[in-house]
């Protein structure tokens, strides 16, 4: 009887542990897989790469919008240093969004509005870093790794071609100060 109770308790505790473990692991695994796939397709760590115009053949993530042009920068703040990010101005909808390794969209900045009218100048830090010297808007990453995504509205080939030129001015690099 005592042993049966012990086995039931052990089973329940293990089930709870398995449940929590899977819930925490799934987003990280899927995000990590997506980042690995992106890297294999030429997206650099600390540098923006403009994805090919979205079609059924070029899609790398589920439910991409064929009307948007995506510039992607993978980041890894393992050395602790901040990153300087610049999204060049665009005549149309544009935004910079930040996703951590658990898929959280922890920051979004609208390009072309207010302080970002001439492009978005941002600095990405790890938590608890000194941000006094950093230029532009300050953003704190909740984790070491993640994805920075610039979305620009480009429903036609002509608009996508414009993004190709504009995106050459985007920057995602270790801060130089």
């Amino acid at each position: 009887m005592k042993r049966a109770m012990l086995l039931i308790a052990l089973f329940c505790a293990a089930a709870l542990a398995g449940h929590v473990f899977v819930l925490n692991a799934v987003p990280r695994i899927i995000m990590n897989k997506a980042m690995t796939k992106m890297q294999a397709r030429g997206v650099p760590v600390h540098g923006f790469a403009l994805s090919a115009r979205t079609t059924q053949e070029t899609q790398t993530v589920v439910r991409p919008s064929p009307d948007l042009a995506y510039s992607i920068c993978l980041y890894d703040l393992k050395d602790g240093g901040p990153l300087t990010i610049y999204a060049a101005p665009y005549d149309g909808y544009a935004s910079v969004s930040f996703f951590d390794a658990r898929t959280n969209n922890f920051a979004s900045v609208r390009v072309g509005e207010g302080d970002e009218a001439a492009g978005a100048k941002l600095t990405l830090h790890r938590e608890a870093q000194d941000m006094m010297e950093s230029p532009g808007r300050q953003i704190i990453s909740p984790g070491r790794k993640g994805i920075i995504l610039i979305r620009r509205l480009a429903p036609t080939q002509a608009e996508y071609d414009k993004v190709v030129e504009i995106s050459k001015n985007d920057r995602c690099e270790p801060a130089k100060y």
């Binding site: 449940h19 899927i30 009307d67």
Partner: protein, 199 residues
């Protein structure tokens, strides 16, 4: 030794079962669609308001990672999906549909067709979506969803889509849509025109 084996097997069985249950409750295995978890439903267009929120629970986080990775938080964009027409019937490529709607309170909007694997359908028709730049600021508009291009008007191709769904994106939505989507969203209507084999 026998006792140790029994304890080990019990632990492994519990861990596996708990993990499988987590996947099932997140809609990642089994027959549960991600749409089952939606907490907003406006005339058949459903959405999960906790998408990409830091406060999202583990189930939502796992589900979004699988079905909507890199989705924006709702102050920047909201996403509505529908899998059925106005009569509640599953959308499929063997039928033609009329999609009608009006102006949306957002900077930009689009409607895109995805297959059952949440991917763009494998066709080269260059008609994967319609969007605000194509429709303009018209108070009313209509589009056709079909396997072949209609004679006139905006078109979304369903060729090679099998059973499919539609995603309505609203970028920089008006605050009213976030606060009270049922009252503020101008939900497009979707009616079946005809199916293959029907006269």
């Amino acid at each position: 030794m026998k006792r140790l084996t029994l304890y080990t097997l019990t632990t492994v069985a519990g861990f596996v079962l708990g993990g499988a249950l987590a996947l099932q409750m997140s809609g990642l295995i089994g027959q549960r669609s991600a749409l089952v978890f939606a907490d907003v439903n406006v005339d058949g267009w459903v959405s999960d308001w906790s998408i990409s929120s830091a406060s999202a629970d583990g189930y939502t986080r796992a589900r979004v990672a699988r079905h909507g990775l890199l989705a924006l938080s709702k102050t920047e964009a909201v996403y509505f999906t529908r899998k059925t027409d106005n009569n509640g019937e599953t959308l499929r490529e063997t039928c033609d549909y009329a999609l009608t709607g009006g102006a949306q309170d957002a900077l930009w909007w689009s409607i895109t067709l995805y297959d059952a694997q949440s991917r763009l359908p494998a066709n080269s028709d260059k008609a994967l979506s319609i969007d605000a730049t194509q429709i303009g600021r018209n108070d009313s508009w209509s589009a056709v969803i079909s396997k072949t291009r209609p004679d006139v008007g905006p078109w979304i191709s369903s060729r090679a889509a099998g059973t499919f769904d539609l995603t309505l994106r609203l970028y920089r939505p008006d605050a009213d849509i976030i606060d009270n989507p049922n009252a503020a969203l101008n939900a497009p209507k979707l009616s079946k025109l005809k199916c293959e084999g029907e006269l």
